[in-house]
Symmetry: C2
Subunit: 360 residues, 2 copies
C-alpha cells in the first residue's frame, strides 16, 4: 500500500543542539543517529557517486585547500575531499553519528587532514576560513527540514570570497501526473462485495478523503505516469541566495499534457548542480522520475479529484514553498493551478510528521 512509503524515517541532515534545544530538535537529533538513514544515503549510488565525481572533478580547486563539510554525517564526503587533495577538511556534524565519522576517518588514515567537529555549524568556531564548502543538505522536496539555512550560514561566516560551494545551484520542478495505484485503492472498496458478500462501496468516498488529503507523499513516480514535460519553477544560486529569500520559494509553471489522461496529482522534484573546474559542462544530481531512482524519490501532491486532460491541455499555475507554522523544519507546498479552461484551484500540502514518539 502506497501510504506506507510516507512512514519512512526522516532523512534530512541538520541538527540543532544547545541550551535552548527544543523537543523537536531532540526528536530530529535522535532519529538521525540511527544507522538506517546513513545506510540508505551511502547505498544511494546516484547521490554518493555524483558527489564523489563532483569532488574529484573539482580537485584543482580542492588540492591544498581548506574545506568545510556542513552536516558531515558519516564523513564520507570529507574523506572524498581529503582523497582529492584537500589540505584540511572540517567535518561538522551535530548528531552522535559524528562519533562514527571519527572512527571512519581514522580507519581511512586521514585523521591528519579530516577533523570531525561535533556541533552545529552555527555554533562551532573554526580556526580559519575555508576555500570550499561541500554539503549534502537536500531534504525531501529539496527544502523539507531546511538544512540549506545552515549551509548559507556557513557560507556567510566561513567561506572566503570567491570560494567554491558544492553543489552551487538547486532547481525545483513540477509536473502533473496520474497515479493509478491510488485510484486502484479507491476501487478496492467496490470489489469487497464480490469477495465477501458485503457491499462496502460507500467506503470509497471516505478513502478518497483519507488518501487524497493534504499530506505530501514521498514515493517513486513511474515514468509512464508523468503527463507532461516537467516545468522548472524555482532556481536557487547557493552563492547568492539568502535565508530571507528561502522563507518563500516560489515560481510559476506551464505544462502541456502529452495526451489524454486523468491528472490526479502533481509531482515535485529537484536537481542540484556541481560546477566542474576541469570540464566545460557541469554535473547534475537529478531526482527526476526520468532518471535513476534516488532515496529522495519524488514528492507527490494529490488533488482532491482527478481532472481530465487531452493532448496539449495547458496545466499552469504557481507553486510556493514555505516552512510550516508548526515546525520551521517542515515544508509546506501551496499550489494554485488551472487545467485547460477550468477555474483556478488551490491546495496546500505539508509533509506529515513521521518522527514517531508519542511519549507524553
Amino acid at each position: 500500500m502506497g501510504a506506507e512509503s510516507s512512514h519512512k524515517q526522516l532523512r534530512s541532515a541538520s541538527c540543532s543542539v544547545g541550551e535552548d534545544k527544543t523537543r523537536q530538535d531532540t526528536l530530529y537529533f535522535d532519529s538521525y543517529s540511527d544507522v538506517t538513514i546513513h545506510e540508505e544515503m551511502i547505498a544511494d549510488n546516484v547521490r554518493t557517486n555524483t558527489y564523489r565525481t563532483a569532488i574529484f572533478r573539482n580537485s584543482e580547486s580542492i588540492r591544498g585547500k581548506v574545506v568545510l563539510d556542513v552536516g558531515a554525517g558519516t564523513g564520507v564526503l570529507s574523506i572524498f575531499c581529503a582523497q582529492a587533495g584537500a589540505k584540511k577538511v572540517y567535518a561538522v556534524e551535530a548528531c552522535s553519528i559524528a562519533e562514527q565519522a571519527m572512527e571512519i576517518v581514522k580507519q581511512n588514515n586521514v585523521e591528519d587532514r579530516v577533523e570531525v567537529i561535533r556541533g552545529t555549524v552555527e555554533t562551532v568556531e573554526l580556526p580559519e576560513k575555508v576555500e570550499v564548502i561541500v554539503s549534502e543538505w537536500m531534504g525531501y522536496a529539496l527544502l523539507h527540514e531546511s538544512m540549506l539555512n545552515s549551509v548559507l550560514y556557513a557560507r556567510d561566516r566561513w567561506l572566503k570570497a570567491g570560494g567554491l560551494i558544492l553543489p552551487s545551484r538547486a532547481e525545483l520542478y513540477i509536473t502533473p501526473i496520474s497515479d493509478p495505484v491510488v485510484e486502484d485503492r479507491l476501487y478496492f472498496w467496490y470489489t469487497v462485495k464480490d469477495q465477501y458478500g458485503v457491499d462496502m462501496s460507500c467506503m470509497s468516498d471516505f478513502a478518497r478523503r483519507c488518501i487524497k488529503n493534504s499530506d505530501i507523499t514521498v514515493s517513486t513516480v513511474a515514468v509512464e505516469d508523468v503527463l507532461s514535460h516537467p516545468a522548472r519553477f524555482a532556481e536557487l544560486d547557493l552563492h547568492s541566495v539568502t535565508a530571507e529569500e528561502l522563507r518563500t520559494v516560489k515560481g510559476r509553471f506551464r505544462c502541456e499534457s502529452f495526451g489524454s489522461a486523468a491528472v490526479n496529482a502533481f509531482c515535485v522534484y529537484f536537481t542540484v548542480t556541481f560546477p566542474c573546474s576541469d570540464k566545460p559542462q557541469s554535473l547534475v544530481l537529478s531526482t527526476s522520475p526520468f532518471k535513476p531512482e534516488t532515496h529522495w524519490k519524488q514528492a507527490v501532491l494529490y488533488l482532491d479529484f482527478p481532472v481530465e486532460v487531452v493532448q496539449d491541455t495547458l496545466v499552469s499555475g504557481e507553486v510556493s514553498m514555505f516552512p510550516s507554522e508548526d515546525s520551521s523544519r517542515h515544508i509546506c507546498i501551496h499550489v494554485d493551478y488551472t487545467v485547460g479552461e477550468k477555474k483556478i484551484q488551490s491546495k496546500t500540502f505539508s509533509i506529515p510528521d513521521w518522527t514517531a514518539d508519542s511519549q507524553p
Copy 2:
C-alpha cells in the same frame, strides 16, 4: 530495508474515549480512523475469510440470537452475523470509523438487525445480554495494544452463561530463526570500500547495535529461515482467562534445531481458534510463517549476536509477555533462553511507538 516494515501504521482495534481520555488514547483513536488500516484488514483474505467461514459455520448458534461485536470497525463481522441469521447485532466501535460502519450497514439493508453504537464496550449500555460475542481483537504478537481486555470485560458484563465467543481460544508460539537480510545489512558496510574507495567497515558494529536493538520488528519470516518446529508457550481460553492473568502471559518452550545454522532471532506468532457447531473440527486463523501471510506478519526479536546450532541442538527457555510501563497498550516480550550447552541469556523487547506525532 527491513527496518521500514516496523514503521507501519498501528493496526490494533480498541479505543478509549471519555472524560479521562489520555493523550495516548487520542493518538490511538486518530491513527485508527484512517482508511489504510481498514483497507489492510479487509484485504487480508486469511483474516476476513476465516471470520466469515467461522460465523457461517456457527449459524446454528447465531440464528435468532443476539450478538455483540467488540471493536466493530467497518462493521463487516456484524454484517456477517446478520447474514448468518442473528436477530440483533450490537456493533460497538469507539472510533470515528463507526460513522462509516453505519453507512455500510444501511447499504447492506441490515439496519433493522445491526445497531452500530459509538462508544467503548466498557461504557456502553446495551438493552439486553447477548448469546454471542464476536471480536477481531488481535494485535501484533497477539497482545500488542491489548484489546483482549475489552473482550473479557464484554464477556463478564454482557455474555449470557453458556454463550459463544468467536474466537474462543488463542495460542502463542515461538521458534528460533535466521534472518539473512539483517546479516546482509551488516555486511553492506564492508562493501563500501570497493564501491567508493572509503573503508566504512567499522560502521558494521554500530549497525549491529542499531538494528539488533530491543525493538520488536513486525515482518514476514520466510519459511526457509525457520530453524525448528515452533513451540507453543501459552494458551488463552477466552471463556475463562481473566484480565489479571493477562498482566503476564508466560510459558516455557523447547525447540530442536532442524540443522546447522546461525540463530539470530526468535519469531513469535499466534493462532486463534473458532469452535464450529456444525463440524467436528474447529477452524484456526494462523499467523504462522508456514501459513499464508496475514497483515499481522510475525514478530521478530533480534538477538545481539548470532548463535551457531547444529542438527538437534536444543534451544529452550521461557517467554513472558507483559504490558510496557510507559503505555499499558504496548506489549513487552522477555525471553530467557539457552542454546545447546551455552549459559542462559535474557533479553527484553518492546514494540516501538509508531504513533507519529511530535507536536509539542
